[in-house]
Symmetry: C2
Subunit: 388 residues, 2 copies
Amino acid sequence: MTDHYQKSLELHKKYRGKLRTEAIAHIESRDDLSWAYSPGVAEPCREIAKDPEKMYDYTLKSRTVAVISDGSAILGIGNLGHRASMPVMEGKCVLFKEFGDVDAFPIIVGTQDVEEFIKTVKNIADGFGGINLEDISAPRCFEIEERLKAELDIPVMHDDQHGTAIVVLAGLINAMKITGRNIENMRVVINGVGAAGVAICKLLLLYGVKDIVMVDSVGTIHPGRKDLNPVKEMLTNITNTACLLDPSNSACIIGWLAAAVSGRDVFIWVSVAGALTEDMVRSMAPDSIIFALANPTPEIMPDLAKAAGARIIGTGRSDFPNQVNNVLAFPGIFRGVLRYHKKQITDDMKIRAAEALASYIQNPTEDNILPDALDKGVAEVVALAMKD
Amino acid sequence: MTDHYQKSLELHKKYRGKLRTEAIAHIESRDDLSWAYSPGVAEPCREIAKDPEKMYDYTLKSRTVAVISDGSAILGIGNLGHRASMPVMEGKCVLFKEFGDVDAFPIIVGTQDVEEFIKTVKNIADGFGGINLEDISAPRCFEIEERLKAELDIPVMHDDQHGTAIVVLAGLINAMKITGRNIENMRVVINGVGAAGVAICKLLLLYGVKDIVMVDSVGTIHPGRKDLNPVKEMLTNITNTACLLDPSNSACIIGWLAAAVSGRDVFIWVSVAGALTEDMVRSMAPDSIIFALANPTPEIMPDLAKAAGARIIGTGRSDFPNQVNNVLAFPGIFRGVLRYHKKQITDDMKIRAAEALASYIQNPTEDNILPDALDKGVAEVVALAMKD
């Protein structure tokens, strides 16, 4: 076992988890008891019964996010079940607190049935000011998030989708500046059509990218494929769109990853195992931009990618430049939506978050397109971007 | 509005609730991130996937209780709905922390359907080391608690039932010593057949009391009544048992409260509105013991009760002697069951808790049968009693 795994086990055991609760109101006197509990507490109860919005005045709902998982897609490991997801959920809550000063609490849900999961989350949602969904497998995660967004009156975000997408877009905005690219004619390939891949694709299209090809383990996504789930089916309408007009057109890309990569400006690899070869990098447009996000081992090492012609490469690793780390996004986003009483996290807000992150770097360079993941000034800048 | 209501509103608003989360693991360096989150956190996840019991080693489950309500019976107010229960649940969590050093988190459940409530709680239970049910209306609370106890592998306790019962029994144990009473021939009447009344009745029977009459708003509980719910039906087999043999026997008490009180040694009033008259006290056995638990106004004031012949009177009020306050029981009980890895809170454990509370008073007197609710040494004594 590597050192950091051993250390992680030891420290988890020492602390028995990483999060605790703390009383804001300390109870030392009869007077303390009487306002914080009986009989005084009856009054905020009655006020909330008259107007449920008063929960934001009198309870922790105003400050608190639920971090919820069913454990169906834990980190890059897979479906280990809800119990095994707890250390990740607690870790996420720690990051919420440490980076966003947001109170967050982990909830693990013991069902992977979509309807029952949704019902359970809805039944406990009113105690929270927002919901951060985490480590839920695709394509279930799409329906779960959409339904909860539609059926609840608090912000809901599946971070594996949108957190990653926001940070990738932020990095891409700066990478575009450095490489002098134009959003209108930039050609993008995304390998991986899971939670992150789909969200990145949608966010880039919203931001103005016109040409994206998606690739899964079977090859490029195109209308001729008979094996597509409904989400991938939907993607055939908005990506690789040359195929919609004429599948025989050379602009319609049918085939393996290599065919999709050739000539592309931007390569984003998420969720599918495998390696990005130097040959593939060589086949891309000059000064290409690569996000190779597998953790801990990127699909290609930055030095090899650069030697093969890439100009900018982002990874998930903290010991390489340009780390794509969701902690840059979610603490500030929820800090902002709680502060400004937002009921939804809209596409516009996601784009504003990405722009705020990109602007945080005053002079972007090839090795500096994203803020440092440990920079505790980032969350406030992202939170401010949630305002309008 | 009285002062303590106004103060409670102001302080709830100032703090926006009374509870917050806190990181045990602070994140200042890449190394911190790497053990508390990615990639190190994968290792405790894998360990838990192999053995779910490892949750107690590596997560907050080992320290944490869910305080759960549907808001169907908030304090003495009634069914104000789940949202309005939040200030009480947060307050309870604060008491757990302040008195028991137990991490507790409030969960409000947005359904009052028994099956759906049970399913929701079961679906989120694995993240917690115990469940404290709170402010759930009778008789629903009995089925909910029994089912959750049977179907979950963590301790579940409805505090409105057992917390109150344990503290009343503790007080009664000392009151018996002072008045020289014997458990075998002590005659008890309980007015109120809700959560607390039923639990007190059951615990006193378990402890050895032989003669209890229960009274609800219609009168004494006896087998001749046609309006009984299943719980009250069950009570006809274990209380007022003379009626089982022969309803015409004078020992079978059929009638109003006054008939039930006459000649009794102990009067416990919970859950039913009304006043205990001095005439009723005069009709009791000499040196009677009274628990008049309505809050904030007891069913009879202690000085009046004593003038009418009662020797010992306990109330819910902190400004009178002998306060029956659940905070004497639940923090220590859950502290103990978490520490000793108990999967259930058994009847034996409840009796041991009551005995520990009673013994905490070295020299019981008429005005000192229970520990002070603010005494922070109590919880550890109760916790130790959970051991065997």
